[in-house]
Amino acid sequence: MTDVTILSGDATGIGLGEAAKPRGMARRAWEVFAENKLALGSIGFVIFMLLFCFVGPYIYNTNQTSTDLSLYLCHPSGAHLLGCDDLGYDELGRLMVGGQTSIEVGIAAAVVSVLFGTLYGAISGFAGGIVDAVMMRVVDAGLSLPSLMVLIIASVIFHPTKTVIIFVIAFFYWFGVARLVRGETLSLRTREYVQAVRVIGGRPLRSVVRHIVPNAIGTIIVQGTFAVADSILILAVLGFLTLGVAPPATDWGSMLSGGLTYIQGGNYWWLIYPPGVAIILTCISINFIGDALRDAFETRLQRR
């Protein structure tokens, strides 16, 4: 067990060594992951959701750019499988278009915040001393911000387009990632192979990018998975508060916000349940995947 760990560390040092390093580790991780049927099912569901949102509109053609008030709150029928909303948009088609926004923003915000947070945390932890102290106080400050309040302010300030929302969400999310990666870095930087780089004259940046980050990759991937689910939820919250993307674009949270208006007026279930259930199932699946990934990367839990 131990010699395998050292070997994989060395392989990373020589180069990215795709063939040498990850195979053994990745295969073992995959074996643990594949045992988790819930996680496999979740992957299936996420793939289904991606197809539904991004390929679905080509099969189920609907008009999602102009309103049609003659279809005001029409009931589900053969022509409109899930009925229409108050502007006459087909609800099922809207679910696909809204899902595109939610998933795109979720993934993009997660990628941006995890990339930046990882680099920041790794540099802070690796530098240590005063640099670390200063960099971490910034993170402390970020984590002390009442994030939803500042998100609301930020959404009022910046005209909310998809790109703006991605960066606004990422801005508030990376602090947590940075703190986590810094913790990981603190334990990694004392390892022999990282010390060795310093001894042979490698620059600090090389240690961070080539050794620290690849060895913390498990933590980073797991955190990135959860970040996708969290970002989808944050976007839903902004959409619900009518601070999401501007019409005719939509997202699942904005759809729910529209449905809330009609909750008292009659049984318009198709305005509420489809987007709500879509958010829940997507986020729960992503969280299950994240949980299984954590088990897979957690060497403690591995047999042998």
Partner: protein, 314 residues
């Protein structure tokens, strides 16, 4: 301990400084600046210059910052021009109601979350554990406002059991006098927090179950009930106390959403309306208040942890 306390308070002050600078800078990012937000779209350049000068927005940022902090330290949180009242009096009206909501929701969620978390850890990998794990995953993935909407549509539209809106009143006592109207907001809030406590309690108890003191207790013949509730439970509670102190941002965020869904007249609703009206003084005052509370919560969590767990040495 004293050294730790001084260092920790010093850190808190630095963090407070960074956050207040950030918050004030954010307000300056409003399209056209805070005065434009105040006067509206049709303000003339002359008016904007006049008000910029009147409120001191034409001065350097650091001067504005010092003046603002000076006012804050004198208890002046600003004045809402939309509501024509001081931010402090707005907080005085709204904060007690939010505290009622947060306290009730937190207590209900702890009553369910802690014992069920212990149950899950003791009976891990049984059907009961899986079902409860499913419930907490649901809690993590369900947007608070969606749960609120669903509960309203079930319990106030389909079955007229509870009113769809939270109690509307200016006084806390009359809000507490309408317990039926409080049920749905509190239940929604509690479900959101339940997932947090039960998951944490489960893993905390699991960590404690493998400790040496548990083996010692069993070896000297303590009953299983005594081992769990007399030893493991009490030690696991320490980390929940910490979590309570650290979860203030979650509590604040939850309160905002619940108040918007149920139209509950607390801080969250007032903040949301201020955001839609770009009432920047209210936004600033509320954000600073929430931040100070968060920083204090973190500080108390750290200190409380050190006090409760004698093994912690700084």
């Amino acid at each position: 301990m004293i050294g730790f306390l001084i260092r920790r308070i010093g850190q808190a002050i630095i963090v407070l400084f960074l956050v207040t600078v950030f918050t004030l800078a954010l307000v300056h990012l409003f399209p056209g600046g805070p005065v434009r937000a105040l006067l509206g779209e049709r303000a003339t350049p002359f008016e904007i210059n006049y008000f910029n000068h009147l409120y001191g927005f034409d001065q350097p940022f650091y001067v504005q910052y010092i003046k603002w902090v000076d006012q804050l330290l004198h208890g002046n949180l600003g004045f809402s021009y939309h509501l024509n009242q001081s931010v402090a009096s707005l907080i005085g009206q709204a904060l007690p109601k939010t505290i009622v909501l947060v306290l009730l929701g937190t207590i209900v969620s702890l009553i369910f979350g802690i014992p069920l978390g212990v149950y899950q850890a003791v009976h891990r990998n049984t059907v009961g554990d899986y079902v409860l794990t499913g419930v907490s995953f649901l809690g993590y993935a369900t947007p608070t406002f969606f749960l609120g909407i669903v509960l309203v549509s079930w319990f106030s539209v389909d079955v007229h059991l509870f009113p769809p809106f939270a109690p509307q009143s200016s006084s806390v006592i009359s809000i507490l006098g309408q317990p039926r109207a409080l049920v749905l907001p509190v239940v929604t809030y509690a479900f959101l927090l339940y997932a947090l406590w039960s998951r944490y309690m489960r893993s905390s108890v699991l960590d404690n179950l493998v400790q040496d003191y548990v083996r010692t207790a069993r070896a000297k013949g303590a009953s299983e009930r005594r081992v769990i509730w007399g030893h493991v439970f009490r030690n696991s509670l320490v980390s929940i106390v910490t979590l309570l102190g650290l979860s203030l941002p979650t509590l604040v965020a939850g309160a905002i959403l619940i108040e918007v869904v149920f139209n509950y007249p607390g801080m969250g609703l007032a903040f949301y309306q201020a955001a839609l009206n770009v009432d920047y003084q209210v936004l600033l005052g509320f954000t600073v208040l929430a931040t100070v509370a968060t920083i204090l919560g973190n500080l108390l969590a750290d200190v409380g942890y050190a006090l409760l767990d004698p093994r912690v040495r700084y």
